[in-house]
């Protein structure tokens, strides 16, 4: 406390001497704070891509039992408070939805094939190319990482206005209506827990990519989820996209989701 005040006075004094205005003092303080943000340190073995994307092969995920290990893997490593009982306060990064909720427009087709309409669908943040949530955020607490297109969250900067939740057309964001920590089953030390009053969502496991691992859901999916670089024409994901007809959620909104579904 004392030292940070001294630092502040020093900066203030120096700026005053140099004739710089209050603006630079604010900037200096801001950058000090920024050093504490969640920007993930990229390790030597890190996986790189210009634009990460995911294909979900629903042919391989036909029952809730198929989805469960995938969802559990995410919940476990990201300290999702699954013991929260109030449905209003639920935190979800990746979860199961029925066809009519994952694809409300498509489900207008009353005579669609039973196999597809009865399927359970995995839904998560689409890491859109044009993310409405990033557009809406008044503090850049949610931002699109330029290097690989992941839509990320800075839990320490978020003011909890929930504009991003109103903006997201996929319901991918959750808000901590109360302290989530008592509701975490087994706390993982590899990922920060969150505090009350901030928004959170799937981060495509940016913390795992940084150390050369695939996202947890992909690893747990036994090949049903394919993760890779959408911009690399020779990547596995592009091969899968070329060989299979895929659909995306609410494509008509122009958000350009990075999550594709083989149905």
């Amino acid at each position: 406390m004392e030292s940070s005040r001294r630092k502040f006075l020093k900066i203030a004094g120096a700026s005053a001497v140099a004739g710089l205005g209050a603006h630079s003092i604010l900037n200096a303080l801001a950058s000090e704070e920024q050093a504490e943000t969640v920007e993930i340190k990229i390790g030597p073995k890190a996986l790189h891509a210009k634009n990460w994307g995911m294909v979900i092969d629903t042919r391989k995920l036909t029952t809730s039992a198929d989805l469960k290990p995938i969802i559990d893997a995410c919940n476990k490593i990201h300290n999702i408070p699954i013991k929260l009982e109030n449905k209003n306060h639920e935190i979800k990064w990746i979860w199961e939805e029925k066809y009519q909720h994952a694809f409300p427009v498509l489900s207008g087709n009353k005579y669609a094939n039973d196999r597809v309409t009865k399927l359970p669908f995995l839904v998560l943040c689409n890491h859109c190319e044009n993310p409405p949530c990033v557009r809406a955020c008044p503090t850049q607490a949610t931002f699109k990482r330029k290097s690989d297109g992941i839509v990320m969250m800075d839990f320490h900067r978020c003011i909890g206005c929930r504009f991003c939740m109103a903006a997201c057309p996929y319901g991918s964001r959750s808000f901590n209506f109360r302290d989530p920590r008592p509701f975490i089953e087994h706390e993982s030390k590899d990922f920060p827990t969150r505090m009350k009053g901030v928004v959170e969502k799937c981060n495509f496991c940016a913390e795992r990519l940084a150390v050369g691992k695939q996202p947890a859901c992909v690893e747990a999916s036994k090949g049903a989820l394919v993760f890779g670089d959408l911009r690399d024409p020779d990547s596995k994901i592009r091969k899968v996209l070329k060989e299979n007809y895929t659909i995306r959620r609410k494509q008509e909104l122009g958000t350009e989701p990075a999550v594709y579904y083989i149905v």
Binding site: V105, P138, T139, A166
Partner: protein, 385 residues
Amino acid sequence: MLELAFKGGKKYWGWMAFLLGVISAGFAVYLWQFNFGLGITGMSRDVSWGFYIANFTFLVGVAAGGVMVVTPYYLHNYKAFGKITILGEFLAIASVIMCLLFIIVDLGQPIRALNVLLYPSPNSILFWDAVVLNGYLLLNIVIGWNVLEAERNGTHYGSWLKPLIYLSIPWAVSIHTVTAYLYCGLPGRGFWLTAILAPRFLASAFAAGPALLILLCLVIRRTTNFDPGREQIQSLAKIVAYAICINVFFFLCEVFVVFYSNIPSHMDHMKYLFVGLHGHDSLVPFMWTSMALMVFAIILLVNPITRKNETVLAVACVSVFMGTWIDKGLGMISGGFVPSPMHHVTEYAPTIPEIIITLGVYGVGFLVLTALFKIVVSVKEETRG
């Protein structure tokens, strides 16, 4: 001039003490919310904005409505309004203060609120809303205070004030336009995704603001020696009449587009509000009440015989105020969130703690408003006598 707010009779202090009581109750419950989180409200993952943001939206309208007395006086030289422009400006101050408080109580991390200024994000409409609301607050404080002080001293206000007064007119329009843009630019929220949202907001604002002002004028006449004037009240009544008609017209335009186009993602919200969706219909009686109140008010306001009777006029103004409050305060926000973009129907209702905090914010607004109006009335009594 501020000292005038500290001189008052028993009734004045009684009212202020009552408001302080309401504020204290609201503040106590807010401390609870501050500690526990927004989980004490009725909001949810699906309905992530509720009563706070709804009242914020409504009060931005009331604040903008003040311009309806400023414009005729300063722009069209309609002298009669000279007597009451200050009331419109001070009403705007109290309303904007409530708006800002509603934003603060709605934040999950209120102590980080200044991040909005520390990391200015011009792509976010919320950033612009903070800019226009604070600007409007400042404009009204500077203009209102200086004009009133000049009146008290028997002088003319400084000529430097004139450009600010002219600026305050489009600025008033901007606060409600930007507030509408918070909603109407979001993909996947069919209820709000309409270009008429900002005009509709303005129409209801220009009805609700002046309607409240008429009621306040009637209260002032009754409780003080200052009479805002019959002509002034009648002119305001005509403004309310036009605005409420336009508001209902805009709403009907919306209904036509939504149902004639037959696009489900736009119809579902309207259905939810007016007939219920998948068995969920908690807002249906409120929405029809709102419509009935507005139509009832139109009948009373358009007809000169009823409009000229001040008792009937008061009834009409209460109807306008309640009708537009339900429309915006209950329907507009919930309606946009139900059903959710994934077509889940999660209903929302404010909880008791949420309502107490809301009343606390209104308490602050009325406290500020009472103090400001007390100053106005004292100055008017002074200068007349």
